[in-house]
């Protein structure tokens, strides 16, 4: 969930019940205030009427004083306490019942008990109340919306430097590290964050560059003497006076320098991969790379009478440096060929997000913990024991999962997008 969505949600979560509570409070307060108003008016009428009744001659029949505002009737009940009540009164003009507030008062006149009912329409009050509530809803709704917008805007503005930095970090590319700078901002916390990020990227850039220089220099310093040894041996071999023994000796020295050179290149390659010196390119078709190496290894396959079945259920498009894609597939392929039994079958399964290579071999399962370690060879073949280490390194730096499973005679390497 985005930060902005979350703050807005929290804001709503807290402000909605608050608004609802204050709304309810206002509703009841207004209702009470309006009722109080009516009751007060009724009370006033009562006081005036009772005063008026008290001033009347004793023989006056007060039932004659009946009018729409006060109904007077005889009662046998002894004077009880006054009470208020709500009632509906038929209104002939509107042919309907209107709500009225009623005050019942008991009095004694000439030793006769009377019940006085004072009435007042609350229709207008109800209308006013309704209008007030509606207004309240509008105002509250409007305020809520306005606050939401302000909150949204403030948050957006406040977090902007953070988001800018975040954007820079997530798109960080080792090759372009020196161009990355986190600018100073007004908010001290973000400023501190950016300063730390600047320090960190500077350190990373330094490490990256020194590692890059190291691999280049190491490569140069080792390959140059090897080149000299190799060329001198090659020249030496041209001497027609050499005996067979001497030629064979020179030749094996020559082969050894080749191995040393390949080993050096492989180790430097691993270092470069670890150091992210290979930038991922646009999406590369795994199917394409597999096809390429299938024909590349054709002779090797023929020699061991190995058949290859490639089942394509969908092409996996990998965002990876082309050289690494080649290394990855060719290493797994040659590994499968190397450990396959004569005349067996290699199956390659390609899916939209996975690649599997399965070979059959009578060799026992490989110890999973040592499988991807450097210089671990599983038999005495000519490999340098770095192939699978390179494969693992490529997977680790390119968000690919690699899993090895073994079942009877089948050995399976599965790559999936992680």
């Amino acid at each position: 969930m985005k930060l902005l969505t979350r703050t807005t949600t929290y804001y709503l979560l807290f402000s909605l019940p608050l608004l609802l509570l204050s709304g309810l409070f206002l509703y009841y307060s207004i209702e009470r205030a309006l009722q109080h108003e009516v009751d007060e008016e009724l009370e006033n009428s009562k006081v005036i009427w009772i005063q008026h009744l008290n001033n009347l001659p004793a023989d006056k029949d007060i039932l004659e004083l009946n009018n729409p505002y006060v109904q007077i009737e005889k009662t046998n009940i002894a004077p009880a306490s006054n009470y208020y009540s709500d009632t509906l009164v038929y209104e002939p003009l509107e042919n309907g019942k209107d709500p009225y507030r009623n005050l019942t008062v008991f009095i004694n006149h000439n030793n006769q008990h009377y019940k006085l009912s004072f009435q007042r329409s609350v229709l207008e009050h109800k209308a006013v109340f309704k209008k007030l509530i509606l207004l309240m809803i509008y105002v509250f709704g409007g305020l809520l919306l306005l606050f939401l917008m302000i909150n949204f805007y403030i948050n957006k503005k406040l977090w902007k430097p953070f988001n800018t930095s975040l954007q820079k970090i997530t798109t960080l590319n080792m090759q372009q590290l020196q161009q990355v700078h986190f600018d100073a901002v007004a908010i001290s916390e973000f400023n501190a964050l950016n300063n730390s990020l600047n320090a960190m990227t500077k350190k990373m850039q330094g490490d990256y560059l020194s590692m890059k220089t190291f691999t280049q220099n190491a490569s140069h310093e080792i390959q140059t003497p090897l080149a000299i040894i190799q060329s001198k041996l090659e020249l030496l071999m041209q001497d027609n006076l050499l005996t067979e023994q001497q030629i064979v000796a020179i030749s094996s020295a020559f082969e050894a320098t080749q191995r040393l050179s390949k080993l050096n290149q492989a180790l430097l390659l691993i270092t470069k991969i670890e150091n992210n010196q290979f930038e991922a390119s646009e999406a590369l078709s795994v199917k394409g790379v597999v096809e390429k190496y299938r024909s590349f290894f054709a002779e090797l396959l023929d020699q061991k009478k190995i058949t290859v079945s490639v089942n394509v259920h969908g092409d996996w498009l990998l965002s990876i440096h082309p050289l690494l894609a080649d290394m990855l597939i060719s290493n797994l392929f040659s590994n499968a060929i190397r450990y396959s039994s004569q005349g067996s079958n290699i199956t390659v399964e390609i899916n939209q997000d996975s690649f599997e290579i399965i070979n059959t071999s009578t060799l026992p399962s490989i110890d999973a913990t040592r499988l991807f370690q450097r210089f671990v060879k599983h038999d005495s073949t000519t490999g340098n024991g770095l192939g699978l280490a390179i494969v693992k390194e490529i997977c680790d730096t390119n968000a690919i999962n690699i899993r090895y499973t073994h079942n009877n005679t089948t050995h399976r390497f599965k790559l999936t997008a992680s």
Binding site: Q216, S219, H220, Q223, T224, L226, A227, I228, I229, Q230, S231, K232, E234, L235, M237, Q238, E244, I247, V248, I250, S251, F254, E255, T257, Q258, S261, K262, Q265, L268, F296, F297, E299, L300, Q303, L323, S330, N331, S334, R338, T381, T382, G383
Partner: protein, 225 residues
């Protein structure tokens, strides 16, 4: 044919010079940047072999200079740095080829020969060796005036052999030439043997002498004596 070898490591420079001279080239050498710049400004060469890492300058600047003076020389960069960027940069600047150290002298020789053929004759020149006649442009091979049907790899092997005639060529050099850098994925040179056996058979059947000699199991020599 005149070559310029620009390489700061004297031992390697000498080895290249020695090998190329036995192949009939006239070799001049330069051990540093200044010397190299002077030579390319004053003299014309058919092909220039240039190392990238030189004292007091970069081989890439020499390539730039060669291009700016519109030199007709072919250019091969040799570098101990196997960096992809360097390779791409070198080829973009206009060099014809790129070799990573360590390399086989026979490979360097074959590439120099190919560049000179392309540059000087537009690939029209024939490669001749006794009764063998190769037309690189058409990739066709005639032996005793009869066309010989060779596979791509057999053809590549034959051209490589003739370019390095009389030299002992190691099996690793042949394998690397035919299969490229990834040849070491293979376990042995067995299939190299198969290709050479087939090539030999086809040549013998067309009435050619057996020029391909196996030298004590270490490599091959293409020779008529």
């Amino acid at each position: 044919m005149k070559l310029l070898i620009i390489e700061d490591e004297q031992a390697l420079r000498d080895a290249i010079q020695q090998y190329m001279e036995t192949q009939g080239y006239l070799c001049e050498i330069a051990g540093n940047f200044e010397e190299a710049m002077d030579k390319i400004d004053y003299y014309e060469y058919d092909c220039i072999v240039v190392d990238i890492g030189l004292p007091m300058g970069s081989g890439l600047d020499i390539v730039k200079e060669l291009k700016s003076i519109k030199s007709k020389a072919g250019i091969i960069i040799i570098s101990a740095r196997d960096a992809v960027d360097d390779k791409v940069m070198g080829l973009q600047l206009g060099s014809d080829d790129y070799l990573t150290k360590p390399f086989h002298l026979s490979e360097l020789n074959a590439r120099v020969a190919a560049i000179i053929r392309r540059r000087n004759f537009g690939g029209e020149e024939k490669i001749l060796f006794n009764e063998i006649e190769i037309h690189p442009a058409a990739k066709s091979v005639k032996m005793n005036d009869k066309y010989l049907d060779l596979t791509q790899k057999e053809y590549d092997l034959l051209v490589y052999f003739i370019s390095n005639r009389g030299r002992l060529i190691t099996k690793s050099a042949l394998a690397q030439h035919i299969w490229g850098d990834q040849y070491d994925q293979a376990e042995s040179y067995d299939f190299l043997y198969t290709h050479i056996k087939n090539l030999r058979k086809k040549m013998m059947e067309s009435g050619t002498a057996d020029y391909i000699k196996n030298i004590y199991g270490t490599g091959y020599k293409f020779t008529d004596n």
